[in-house]
């Protein structure tokens, strides 16, 4: 067995083990820490696939931003689960069956399909090529993605913002009644 294959098995084992921990651990904070390890494993896999830019993006956005957001979300909603409650709901065994079926069906289909493996060499300067592609061929999706991020930013602030008691009162009152709206 080659060195790269051993590396792949180590990384893949780490990814699957941490992912199983993420979905089964009762302590949500520990699950989030394992999620960070899982994202790191995926970044290592991108290095193995010779996509260094994506590995960097994975570390910056998933480990640096999304994990921190999730940790903040956990801390802001702390102590909501009762100790006697399990982490999984009553239909977990049904989900387990569906999951096993889906995994085996996907693995069978993907392994049996005749993929046209290309023997062409890897594109030489990936990062420069990505920059050119983003600003020429894919400039419209690129701009739409910026707009999506702006909308998500504003939407998240508006949804999660703390409303004062007066504002809550205003929202409850029926609209179109000027006398009611006077303070």
């Amino acid at each position: 067995m080659e060195f790269t294959q051993v590396t792949f098995f180590l990384i893949a084992g780490g990814i699957v083990a941490t992912a199983v921990g993420v979905v089964t651990l009762r302590n949500i904070f520990h699950a989030a820490l394992l999620l960070i390890a899982c994202f790191g494993g995926v970044a290592a896999l991108y290095v193995l696939l010779e996509a260094p830019f994506l590995a960097g993006v994975q570390v910056l956005i998933y480990i640096g931003a999304i994990s921190v957001l999730i940790l903040f979300g956990i801390m802001l909603t702390e102590r909501v689960m009762q100790p006697e409650q399990t982490a999984r709901n009553e239909q977990w065994w049904l989900v387990l069956i569906v999951m096993a079926l889906l995994a085996s069906a996907l693995a069978f289909l993907l392994a049996s399909a005749p993929w046209p493996i290309s023997d062409q060499p890897l594109i030489p300067d990936q990062i420069a090529g990505l920059g050119v592609d983003f600003l020429t061929t894919y400039v419209l999706p690129f701009e739409v993605a910026s707009l999506l991020l702006l909308m998500a930013l504003l939407g998240a602030v508006i949804i999660a913002r703390e409303r004062g008691p007066e504002e809550m009162e205003m929202e409850k009152r029926p609209a179109g009644d000027p006398a009611e709206r006077a303070p």
């Binding site: 949500i28 979300g73 399990t86 889906l102 990936q126 990505l130 999706p141």
Partner: protein, 102 residues
């Protein structure tokens, strides 16, 4: 050289584990974490296909970057919703959030 099917099998397993997390957990933040695992599995598949099928053009990596963008937007909005629900109802157990249930 690692066969392409190994990456695809890993993607299938990771996606299924994420699906379990999204469907079987009670905590809404844990559901979001399951969705993140599923998006990561999709990205592994995209990058593996790019590397093995079309290494001379960068389309697979471009697609993966867009998936990461959408994932970031999704988790920000999802957590904002979780925090808003927590303020209103003092719970983030998805089984107790059933206002729209008939």
């Amino acid at each position: 050289m690692i066969p392409l099917s190994w990456y695809l099998a890993l993607g299938a397993i990771l996606f299924s584990v994420g699906l379990y997390g999204a469907l079987a957990r009670r905590n809404a933040v844990a559901v979001l974490m399951g969705i993140e695992l599923m998006l990561n599995a999709v990205n592994i598949n995209l990058v593996a296909f790019w590397r093995y099928l079309t290494p001379q053009v960068l389309i697979g990596q471009v697609f993966a970057v867009f998936v990461i963008t959408v994932a970031a937007a999704e988790v920000a909005l999802g957590l904002a919703l979780v925090i808003a629900i927590y303020r209103q109802r003092r719970t983030i157990n998805v089984e107790e959030i059933n206002l729209l249930k008939g």
